[in-house]
Symmetry: C2
Subunit: 224 residues, 2 copies
Amino acid sequence: MYRHFETDLQELKQQILAMGGSVEKGLAEVCQALFTKDHGKLKEVHEQETKVNDLQIAVDQACVQLLARQAPVAKDLRLVIAIIKINTDLERMGDQVVNIAHCTNDLFRMGQALTVPADVLTISEKVRSMVRDGLDAFVRRDVALSRAILNRDDEVDELRDKIIREAIQMVRQKPDLLESCLELIMIAKNFERMADHATNIAEEVIYLATGDDVRHGKSGSATP
Amino acid sequence: MYRHFETDLQELKQQILAMGGSVEKGLAEVCQALFTKDHGKLKEVHEQETKVNDLQIAVDQACVQLLARQAPVAKDLRLVIAIIKINTDLERMGDQVVNIAHCTNDLFRMGQALTVPADVLTISEKVRSMVRDGLDAFVRRDVALSRAILNRDDEVDELRDKIIREAIQMVRQKPDLLESCLELIMIAKNFERMADHATNIAEEVIYLATGDDVRHGKSGSATP
């Protein structure tokens, strides 16, 4: 019985990692489309999202079956519940990648009169590393890496605010760029929301590894 | 043992309803602040968010304890997992109410030169009814009401797009309103995201009541 549980759990972890892999791939593709103006990449983003959505449903069903058949307790139960939550975070990330693809497509449609600011590249790279590290932290139960992700979330918030200020400045100088700049702002906002979901995953890992609930700035431990 | 489970489950439902009540109250307060320019209401919004955050942690802990102690199966297990997810949706809604409060505060700070379009009132009322009906549907396992919520989500998406077009039009006519109009767009986007979370709750209720997973436009049933 117990060995069966371990096998099911390994399979579930593999599904979550496959899902994370699709989110990462979609994110890489949308960044390539945005920064190299490779329109063809946008279609591939949608293919990744379909995979993510299908996996979300499969993971949810597998979690319910696992809980029903094995009735895990303590750490095993916490792990299954963490997977249920991480599953939701990854699916939302998939949606946000698609939102960025829509904004990028609209930018292409508007004729790309606008130069994408360097800070958009910076925020995209930071968010990509947060997504990748979030999954690595989950696999390795790496608390230090998880805490580093929480810190990077603040940097992403600052970058988003900076991009918004830059976009406002661009519109002031060239009012014709209003709609393009709005798309830029939406792109920055979506990256920032992806960072929020990576942060949720990091918080789950910390809770799994230490039992310490760090959501809403709460922490049972005395460490900063 | 079973009676104990029922008591725990009832308590959990009460906590979810208290959380939903705080989200609804915060939403009502931020709408009052936005439409009647009652600045004092914004402080109350933050008080509601604190309640929502505290309840989120309490509900999560209660769910883990319930699963560990009672090992529910079938419908009872699905209900506990639905509560775990609805808990996350309500917490995010609390965040979005706070985002709207920040935007409203920024609008006040900018001197309110801008008239809030009637469509913002319409979207706020639609979202408030979706949040309320989502919780009612959950309490009563009301599939018809849940399906009505899914339909209203499309109306909210259209309203958000209309508000964005109106805001762009306003900036074209009065470039000084750029930053105020950006806040308006963010307010519309946050209302729309709240509607997404109400839709998630409605989908959970449909799944609980019928076993039919309607996420991502999928449906196992032949009914439309």
